[in-house]
Amino acid sequence: MRINRIAKNHDQSMLPSPDLSVIEPLLARYKGRKGSLIPILQGVQEMLGYLPAEVFKKISDETGIAVSELYGVATFYAQFRLNPVGKYIVKVCHGTACHVQNATAVTEALEEALGVKDGQTTPDGIFTLESVACLGCCSLAPVMMIGDETYGKLTGTEAVKILKNIRIRESQSAAD
């Protein structure tokens, strides 16, 4: 079983409280439609990047779905995030084909370069490192995906280089 909880030690007060009013049109659209719980959560995550604790209460108030049910679904599926993520989510594929072609080395190199563990976000909020199950690009193994861009036939060194370039781009655009 996957264990996925809202981190207790997470200092929520440090973060600006997300503006929850943006999700209202979405809730209005799905209100009263059966089987809409997962699309609602997907839509909210799309807008806010993750599912903040406050959002469960709000969805429950508006739709009448119990918080327990919402939280149960949000913790069941791998897609839902309960904690904030970085600007770039680095998804390193750990499917069978990638595994036998040393995807572990890619993750290890990235962990070392970013100074975070699998599943964590860098302190500057730029990268979140994530291991995912098969991305379906097995012929290019090992593979990682950042945003919509897929990078194939990687080694640890190349993966680190790709991230370095993104970071350089980021600091340049911040300086501009």
């Binding site: 149960g72 679904v73 069941f76 036998v100 012929s139 193994a141």
Partner: protein, 592 residues
């Protein structure tokens, strides 16, 4: 004069290999140089190992070029299009003469993949031009009844391509037998098996064939609603399905009197999955579509009687649906002509891993595994020794080299302890550790277990812990018996297919590679040199130049030696991180 046509393969794997940039480059060149060339796009051709692929049709013939990046695209446009001189180095295939890559295609029979790589998936006209929607049209024109359609599918011998292998016609017959005001037909596109990507390719490359299959299935069982449950990890597939749905609605293939069948009202919607492998199981999938945690429930009642929203529901896999229009159009005999006695037709396999040509192949049932890997796949990368092939993903198993002459059909593969599954074939060579592979799958099923059944939830965790110990060099002689005992209990006491098959990767590797487990446990050795804690790093003094790079990078200062003199590793301090091995520029670090 025939206008020259350039087609770029833009499936997910093509795009990942850079096909999007290649397409852009060619487009720029055409505009800049005012070339009289038609630029088109298609999806996965199956030859993933040569992506990005560019096909050029001109008056002299058809040329398929491989590994065309932006620079090569410039060269190709210049030489082939401007100077009419084909570039032989990049040529994969042509209709003019034989090439080595012909053996990849020669023995394939394309039924499911009949349109993949042949049409632009975003243009319904191209699907129609290749016989699309004619099968559904045939139902209308010949006034076929639901019983006629079911009989055709039954006679064809088509079995569920998602892995179960249950006869599709029989499934439809059950669902059509229940009376209800509402029935559903669901397409299971939650392809979660790591190592399988045929459903993605079909959805991206030929979405209309899946829709037409669902329309026919919906008509056969009397459903008015179709649902495609697709993985959210496949954004391109979802995008192309949405385009296809809009086009099909506009053309009247969906809606009232769908496909011209009087009184048949049918529409299809997409539900995006949220990432749970267990949702490939029918009852879990239904729970997920209803917006609940995707946990399987006890059967009976089967979905055919009470499924989505407690209505009769029929679920088939993408590949099954894609084959249906072909069967209805060409007849049951045409399909049943291929295959073995109990497994008819063709099957798509996703070849990946340590094989030279990875990609998608569709072969008649009954071909040997060896032929698929060596004739089509071209053998093992780097000409290393072929060790095993993993079939069926986390529910399947590893088939060893000496059983490679097993033919691919449901029953023969099952007899080896693996399963046909959705058709993933991950090839492994001598550098793959089988204990590590078993651990990999157990880690997967442990995470993906929904947690409902105790044996699946806790048993997989216990098995994983044992495997972790073994790969860390802390295995005990009793471990193997304990693994077998736990495996049996998990199989016997789990409700759904995930738990019942979760121990298979361990059981098959134990059956065929027990010596590797014993080497790990008794001799603390990993024969494939994969399990790091069991390896020893030593410096070959003849090759060491004394450059000191290893010593400077060693996190535990385990390496010592004078500058320009051979270094040595203190084995007691070595934590086997592999840093020296990866840093050494002179191949002076040896692994044993």
């Amino acid at each position: 004069m025939q206008k020259t046509k350039v087609i770029v393969g833009l499936g997910s794997c093509g795009i990942a290999a850079g096909a999007g940039k290649t397409y852009q480059k060619i487009e720029e060149l055409i505009t800049a140089e005012h070339l009289d060339v038609e630029l088109a796009r298609t999806s996965c051709v199956g030859m993933c190992y040569r992506e990005p692929l560019v096909e050029i049709h001109d008056e002299s013939g058809v040329y398929l070029y491989g590994e065309i990046d932006e620079n090569r695209a410039v060269e190709l446009v210049d030489k082939h299009i401007n100077q009419h001189s084909p570039v032989k180095e990049y040529l994969v295939q042509t209709d003019l003469f034989a090439t080595p890559d012909d053996s990849f295609v020669k023995d394939q029979v394309k039924i499911t993949l009949r349109n993949c790589g042949m049409i632009d998936p975003e243009k319904i006209e191209e699907y129609e031009a290749r016989g699309g929607y004619k099968a559904a049209g045939k139902i209308a024109a010949e006034k076929l009844t639901s019983a006629d359609v079911i009989k055709t599918v039954l006679d064809s011998g088509m079995r569920g391509r998602g892995g179960g292998g249950f006869p599709t016609g029989l499934k439809w017959k059950f669902a059509s037998g229940y009376q209800s005001d509402e029935k559903y037909i669901i397409c299971n596109a939650d392809e979660g098996d790591p190592g399988a990507f045929m459903d993605r390719s079909v959805l991206e490359g030929d979405p209309h064939s899946v829709l037409e299959g669902m329309i026919i299935g919906g008509f056969a069982i009397g459903a008015s609603h179709g649902v495609i449950y697709c993985r959210a990890e496949y954004p391109l597939a979802i995008k192309r399905l949405n385009i296809a749905l809009d086009q099909a609605r506009a053309k009247g293939y969906l809606g009232d009197n769908a496909c011209g069948i009087a009184g048949f009202c049918f529409d299809i919607h997409i539900k995006e999955g949220a990432g749970a492998f267990v949702c490939g199981e029918e009852t879990a999938l239904i729970a997920s579509v209803e917006g609940r945690r995707g946990m399987p429930r006890k059967r009976p009642p089967f979905p055919a009687e009470s499924g989505l929203w407690n209505k009769p529901t029929n679920i088939n896999n993408v590949e099954t649906f894609a084959g249906i229009p072909w069967i209805v159009l060409n007849g049951a005999e045409a399909f049943a002509r291929y295959g073995t006695e109990k497994s008819k037709g063709t099957k798509v396999f996703a070849l990946a891993g340590k094989v030279k040509r990875s990609g998608l192949v569709e072969v008649p049932m009954g071909m040997t595994i060896r032929d698929v890997i060596f004739k089509l796949g071209g053998g093992i990368k780097g000409d290393k020794k072929f060790k095993a092939v993993q079939m069926g993903g986390p529910s399947g198993g590893c088939i060893p080299e000496y059983l490679a002459d097993t033919i691919v059909d449901y029953d023969s593969v099952t007899a080896t302890g693996a399963i046909m599954g959705s058709g993933g074939m991950v090839v492994m060579d001598e550098t793959t550790c089988m204990v590590d592979v078993a651990k990999f799958f157990l880690d997967f099923t442990r995470k993906e277990s929904c947690g409902k059944c105790t044996f699946c939830r806790i048993g997989t965790k216990r098995m994983l812990e044992i495997l972790e110990r073994i790969t860390q060099g802390e295995g005990k002689p009793s471990d193997i018996d304990e693994l077998i005992d736990l495996a049996q209990q998990i199989k016997d006491n789990s409700l759904c297919g995930l738990g019942q098959t979760a121990p298979n990767p361990v059981l098959t590797t134990l059956r065929y590679f027990r010596d590797e487990y014993e080497a790990h446990i008794n001799h603390k050795k990993c024969p494939a040199k994969v399990c790091k804690p069991l390896l020893t790093y030593t410096i070959i003094s003849d090759k060491c130049t004394g450059c000191t790079v290893c010593a400077r990078n060693c996190p535990t200062n385990a390496i010592s030696g004078q500058r320009k003199a051979p270094h040595t590793i203190n084995q007691d301090a070595c934590i086997k991180c592999g840093m020296c091995f990866s840093k050494c520029k002179f191949d002076a670090i040896e692994l044993s």
